[in-house]
């Protein structure tokens, strides 16, 4: 075996052991695996909805008052709603919205929270005190009234151009921004706590002694060591964001019809809860199962990424 061959195989094996350990531990977490599979299937179906519409020959937004409240049939697998729209594709579109909002808002919150947490944890002192009081302040805000106020803001008054305000997806973007503005606090606190312990490590001192500046220390030496709490917290927060989005949409402040979201489907269904309970049951159940799946997945990731297990 020549040296070059050695060079090719050994590092790959080292990298594989870390990942195989991770997947092995995640695999042992049945609920997490089941949740991941469920979310993957939901994700694929939700983002393939236009294709499914074409195959089934239905249109999610086509109102047909002659076909209201139909039961399941070949044409409409889950039946139709109060406006004669196909329930299945509307649920899938709702899933698309919920997953998109959940994941994008959770990512945006994670980025903000990570930056705030790293700055506070690494620099400490006054900056830390200021950022953490800011975090406390955001946590202490009464969330729902604030979200309602923000959702009711007239965007033209903020100086946004007309073309942006008229965008049919504006309610989607608005809700992502609103949730990101208040959702970063958990990650910020976790990252700060982790950064506080990591910055005392000798390797941070060693990197500083080698001439690395603050930004580099934070990005290269601290961030990779605090990434697992970030991933776990963000996964868990996707579930929370989906719930929050549902609540806002249910209150009529989130995603605006005719775009379907699980929250606004519930709104439409509430008056018909006695006559057509399935209209409330399906979106409600999907919210419940999706949120729980994200929580199980988060728990599984937490166990699988336990740093003591990886380093040992």
């Amino acid at each position: 075996m020549n040296a070059a061959h050695h060079a090719m195989t050994k590092p790959a094996m080292g990298a594989r052991t870390v990942w195989s350990l991770f997947f092995h531990r995640l695999g042992a977490h049945r609920l997490a695996v089941g949740s991941a599979v469920f979310l993957a299937v939901l994700g694929v179906l939700a983002f393939a909805t236009p294709a499914i519409e074409a195959v089934l020959g239905v249109d999610a937004n086509l109102v047909d008052l002659s076909r209201r409240f139909q039961g399941p049939s070949r044409a409409h697998l889950l039946g139709t709603d109060e406006l004669g729209r196909d329930l299945l594709v509307r649920l899938l579109y709702g899933g698309q919205v919920s997953l998109f909002v959940g994941i994008v808002a959770a990512l945006a919150s994670a980025v903000t929270g990570t930056v705030v947490g790293l700055l506070a944890g690494y620099y400490g002192g006054r900056l830390d005190a200021f950022l953490m009081r800011l975090t406390d302040g955001v946590i202490a805000l009464p969330l729902l009234p604030l979200l309602i106020v923000l959702a009711a803001l007239d965007l033209t008054k903020l100086g946004l151009p007309e073309s942006v305000v008229q965008d049919p997806n504006i309610s989607l973007y608005r809700i992502i921004v609103i949730i990101s503005l208040v959702g970063w606090t958990t990650v910020a606190r976790l990252v700060r706590a982790a950064a506080l312990s990591v910055r005392e490590m000798d390797y941070v001192l060693a990197a500083t002694a080698a001439g690395a500046g603050g930004l580099r220390i934070m990005a290269v030496h601290i961030l990779p060591n605090v990434i697992s709490p970030i991933i776990v917290a963000s996964t868990l927060s996707v579930g929370n964001v989906i719930l929050l989005e549902s609540v806002l949409s249910f209150l009529g402040l989130g995603i605006q019809p005719p775009i379907a979201s699980w929250g606004n489907m519930l709104t439409g269904a509430q008056e018909l809860i006695w006559s057509s309970p399935e209209l409330a049951f399906y979106p409600g159940m999907l919210i419940f199962v999706t949120v729980i799946a994200f929580n199980f997945l988060g728990d599984g990731l937490q166990d699988a990424m336990d740093p003591r297990a990886i380093e040992g």
């Binding site: 990298a15 000798d202 060693a206 080698a210 001439g211």
Partner: protein, 335 residues
């Protein structure tokens, strides 16, 4: 950028000049002087061994050279100069430019001094890239060269290893490679062999001496192990309670220790072939730095101390032949 390290050190005077350095930590009970006004210098290519018990200020004074005194401690007096560049007068923001470039440091425990989530090669490449312009491939090349120079077999394979995949001795070699990546004039080694077993310790000492011959850097070698210091150091400085108590060439200090503390330290080292008896210890404990005796800091534990020692502190004086000691008794004796 690189001209400073490539210029011949010879005609520039000492690589490191420390004058009356004082480092103070504010505490609830008042300011604690961890380093109480020490002066020394290291000439190019020389090795200064710094010996003393835990808490004598040897590590803190070394960190001060890099501007890395752990907060809330700070340099409260004196000057530190690298060549003609006064570190103590420099702006905080300018310090990263000299760290790793003109002075580097290696640490006691290479397991914790290397980042567990980055490969060893990446960390050496980073140390190089911090001060040298070049592509990622150049940095990798430089790191591979350094791995080879610190005698790590299969550098290409080892480049991708994470610290936990290496042995302790190998990690310390990697640490040395990282510290020397930019060819600094001064290497500060803070107990680099303490965490290693004896055979590996000897290999690391040998490697450091080989590196010194190759790179020509000066070394400030901190240790509480007199045996190790006697092997590597040209000069030795003994510290006690934040002060230098004795400083001389290694030869002088080991053949003829003048300060009672140095003598006591040497008696605590077991000797091969000596009859197995209880090892002598130094009576008493290190004095509380917040409550130093008014006279000589060692007077409470010194077998020779008298009233005079307890009232006034001796200064570090030349006893002849460049042998410095801060002790009234040895100064009375003459050389």
């Amino acid at each position: 950028m690189s001209s400073a390290s490539q210029a011949p050190h010879g005609d520039l005077g000492p690589v490191l000049t420390v004058r009356d350095l004082e480092v103070t930590f504010p505490t609830a009970r008042g300011p604690l002087r961890a380093v109480g006004g020490i002066s020394y210098s290291i000439d190019p290519g020389r090795t200064l061994g710094v010996v003393g018990e835990s808490g004598c200020g040897k590590s803190v004074s070394a960190l001060a050279v890099l501007g890395l005194v752990p907060p809330p401690g700070q340099v409260t007096g004196g000057t530190i100069a690298l060549g003609t560049l006064e570190v103590t007068a420099m702006d905080e923001g300018a310090l990263p430019a000299i760290r790793g470039e003109r002075v580097s440091m290696i640490f006691q425990e290479p397991m914790t001094a290397l980042n567990p989530v980055l490969s060893v090669g990446q960390q050496i490449a980073e140390a190089w890239a911090l001060h040298r312009a070049g592509t990622a491939a150049d940095a990798r090349e430089a790191a591979l060269t350094m791995l080879e120079r610190v005698r790590i077999p299969n550098p290409v394979e080892r480049y991708a290893n994470y610290p936990h995949q290496m042995s302790g001795g190998m990690r310390q070699r990697a640490m040395i490679a990282m510290a020397l990546a930019c060819g600094p004039e001064l290497l500060i080694a803070d107990e680099p062999t303490t965490a290693l077993d004896v055979t590996i310790q000897a290999q690391i000492i040998e490697l450091m001496m080989e590196m010194q011959a190759e790179f020509g850097m000066a070394i400030q070698f901190i240790s509480h192990n007199l045996g190790v210091v006697s092997e590597i150091a040209d000069d030795v400085m003994v510290m006690y309670a934040g002060h230098i108590v004795e400083m001389a060439s290694t030869e002088q200090i080991f053949s003829n220790p003048r300060h009672p503390y140095t003598k006591a330290l040497m008696e605590t080292v077991p000797r091969l072939g000596a009859r197995a008896t209880r090892l002598p210890t130094i009576a008493g404990t290190v004095p509380d730095l917040l409550d130093l005796p008014p006279g000589c800091p060692f007077s409470d534990r010194c077998p020779l101390a008298d009233e005079g020692c307890r009232q006034a502190a001796p200064t570090l004086d030349d006893l002849g032949g460049g042998h410095l000691a801060a002790c009234f008794k040895s100064q009375e004796d003459g050389p």
